[in-house]
């Protein structure tokens, strides 16, 4: 194996980071513009019921403190400059800094997403390759129709049915949360057994898409001339499949991994809220129901960053695995 081209990879990452700056500018600006156009009142959201009986003077003071009187572009710029320094404001519903809220939840969300994505990639590749090897077989037909049905099924519904089956009927796995109720300590074993269901459901939600694309890619690659040539040379089926078909067949799938990050985040949001997983999703839903603007703005920005990072990762993988593509040209 040739050593990794670290320099080129770093340059690509740097270029993408520069591209991300205007994207984040525009997205955050849009978020502030939507908030400005909405009937949302930051003073009421901040003070809650406490401001109902407050006199005009207090309200005005609160108003200036929160910078409400200013045009939204000014507030946006204030937020942006402070965010660049690491201060994302205070969450009104959690009564703690936004950065703290996100920080203590991000790990759990990332853990869940990584586990689910890993399982989906592994199982999806395996099933896709097996289906592509014998198109039209019963395995292929079963797996494909199952994949289409699963793709159409809402992930929260799958999650609820999974709880019913595995936690209630068979009593195999815990129905939700991070640890068993009553336990103060977070132990690795408990987290693991509590993670099986949510991660499994999230993986199942990501599987169909992955499996169908692998099946398509490998199936197309198996019909191409290099594979025919390899077969004609008398190479074993294994060499043909692993050395020729898989390599070119999986390449298009790699680029799609990046484009799936939004779907993964969406799925994680729903799965986390079904299983009361203490990740970002619970905070998002809570922030949305109580209109916690600072938290919502930060979460939207964070999700955008995650999507951009996913795109970068996909490009890096693509550039590394396809010798025809130069990293410097991506």
């Amino acid at each position: 194996m040739t050593p990794l081209p670290w320099g080129a990879m770093a340059r690509l990452a740097g270029r993408r980071a520069l591209h991300a700056v205007p994207v984040l500018f525009v997205v955050t600006f849009g978020v502030f513009a939507v908030a400005d156009a909405s009937p949302f009142d930051p003073v009421k959201a901040y003070g809650g019921t406490a401001v109902l009986g407050a006199d005009q003077e207090t309200l005005d003071r609160l108003r200036t403190n929160l910078g409400v009187g200013e045009p939204f572009a000014v507030r946006w710029w204030d937020w942006l400059t402070r965010a660049a320094a690491g201060d994302l404001g205070d969450s009104s519903v959690m009564r703690q800094p936004v950065a703290e809220v996100i920080g203590e939840r991000l790990v759990w969300s990332a853990l869940l997403c990584a586990a689910a994505f890993g399982v989906a990639v592994l199982v999806g590749t395996l099933a896709g390759v097996l289906a592509a090897r014998s198109p039209g077989s019963w395995f292929d037909r079963t797996v494909t129709s199952l994949a289409y049905s699963l793709e159409a099924a809402p992930v929260f519904w799958v999650a609820l049915l999974a709880i019913w089956l595995f936690a209630l009927q068979w009593d195999l796995l815990p129905a939700g949360g991070l640890t068993d109720t009553g336990d103060e300590q977070v132990s690795a074993g408990q987290v693991l057994s509590n993670m099986v269901l949510p991660a499994g459901v999230l993986a199942v939600a990501q599987l169909p898409w992955f499996m169908l694309y692998v099946r398509q890619g490998v199936g197309d690659a198996l019909a191409e001339d290099p594979v025919r040539g390899a077969r004609a040379r008398g190479l074993s089926e294994r060499t043909v499949l692993l050395g020729h078909a898989l390599r070119s067949g999986l390449l298009p799938v790699l680029t799609l991994i990046g484009s799936r990050v939004p779907e993964l985040i969406t799925g994680a949001l729903l799965v986390e809220s079904v299983f009361s997983w203490p990740g970002i999703a619970a905070a998002t839903v809570e922030a949305a129901t109580s209109v916690d603007f600072p938290l919502l703005a930060a979460l939207t920005t964070l999700a955008t960053v995650a999507v951009l990072a996913g795109n970068l990762l996909a490009d890096l993988l693509y550039g590394l695995s396809d010798p025809r593509v130069k990293l410097s040209e991506l």
């Binding site: 994207v23 519904w157 169908l212 949001l269 955008t304």
Partner: protein, 300 residues
């Protein structure tokens, strides 16, 4: 397409195999098309006819008949206050489908207008608009939808608007690409050399050519929009809980599910899957007719 069996490359012997496989594939395709059409027709008929024709109150509470499992009297069982779930599901599908169609139509109109205008204006405007489309594509739809709904308070119209505002981006891309490919056609050249203005060319010659693709995109967007509505409603950020929609039905069934009653959860979900698969099947056949060469492309 992707036939790799040993017989496939064996020359003359393989001919009849190929032909019969092609025929078999065609016939399964026809079966799939007819199944989709039938299912979709059944869904649309149920949604349009049941509420006015069947004089049953979907909100009729009957506490003596609460949480009954599926039976002849209640094919889908009853919910935790004894409402008939089949009736609730039909009403829920009606609301979800309505929200889905409204959102998909709005998104398609915005997307087509933006895509066509961007291309008609050309140059900087085109590049700027498409860059903006790329930018907002990198925000996860559901999160942006949640943000919009939260800011405007949950309700039917905020849901429609939030789904429309997050989904026109892909239509704008499709329309723009289609306009690009149409512009090199001789009839457009003829119109241009005949002195037609840019707007006239766009409206009279390019837009009609784009419409089939835009309509296909709109139809495919309906299940997406329904999915978004149900996800938002499920999170408690969509329609109010007393309005039966597929999302609110699943949401309000959570309590009974944890008590072991599976039917209030199962059936609304099936009501999302069936129209989605039917629309996908129909749109697949439609696209094959529009562009037979792209048959092998996946539709997700």
């Amino acid at each position: 397409m992707t036939d790799t069996g040993p017989g496939a490359t064996a020359g003359t012997e393989a001919e009849p195999v190929w032909r019969s496989r092609g025929a078999a594939r065609r016939s399964t395709r026809t079966v799939r098309l007819y199944t989709s059409v039938t299912l979709l027709a059944a869904v649309v008929l149920a949604v349009l006819l049941v509420p006015p024709v069947v004089q049953l109150d979907q909100q009729a509470v009957d506490l003596s008949a609460k949480l009954l499992p599926p039976s002849w009297e209640h094919p889908f069982g009853t919910d935790d206050v004894g409402r008939d779930l089949l009736l609730r599901c039909v009403y829920g599908l009606r609301v979800s489908l309505l929200v889905g169609v409204a959102a998909a139509l709005t998104a398609t109109v915005i997307g087509t207008a933006v895509g066509a205008c961007a291309r008609a204006l050309g140059g900087w405007a085109d590049r700027g608009v498409m860059r903006l489309v790329d930018t907002f594509s990198s925000v996860p739809h559901l999160l942006l939808g949640i943000f919009i709904v939260a800011m405007f308070r949950p309700g039917v119209w905020p849901v429609v608007i939030s789904v429309a505002l997050t989904h026109w981006l892909s239509t704008a891309r499709i329309v723009r690409a289609e306009v690009l490919s149409l512009r090199s056609r001789p009839y457009v050249d003829a119109a241009v050399s005949g002195g037609a203005s840019r707007w006239r060319v766009t409206v009279r010659h390019l837009l009609p050519g784009v419409l089939p693709q835009a309509a296909l995109a709109a139809v495919l967007m309906i299940p997406h929009a329904m999915w978004h509505e149900s996800a938002l409603s499920f999170l408690g950020l969509g329609l109010p809980t007393h309005t039966a929609s597929l999302g609110t039905l699943v949401q309000s069934a959570r309590g009974s599910l944890l008590a072991g009653q599976w039917w209030p959860t199962l059936f609304p979900g099936l009501f999302i899957i069936v129209p989605t698969l039917a629309i996908a099947g129909l749109a697949g056949a439609w696209r094959e007719r529009l562009n037979p060469r792209r048959r092998s492309e996946l539709m997700l």
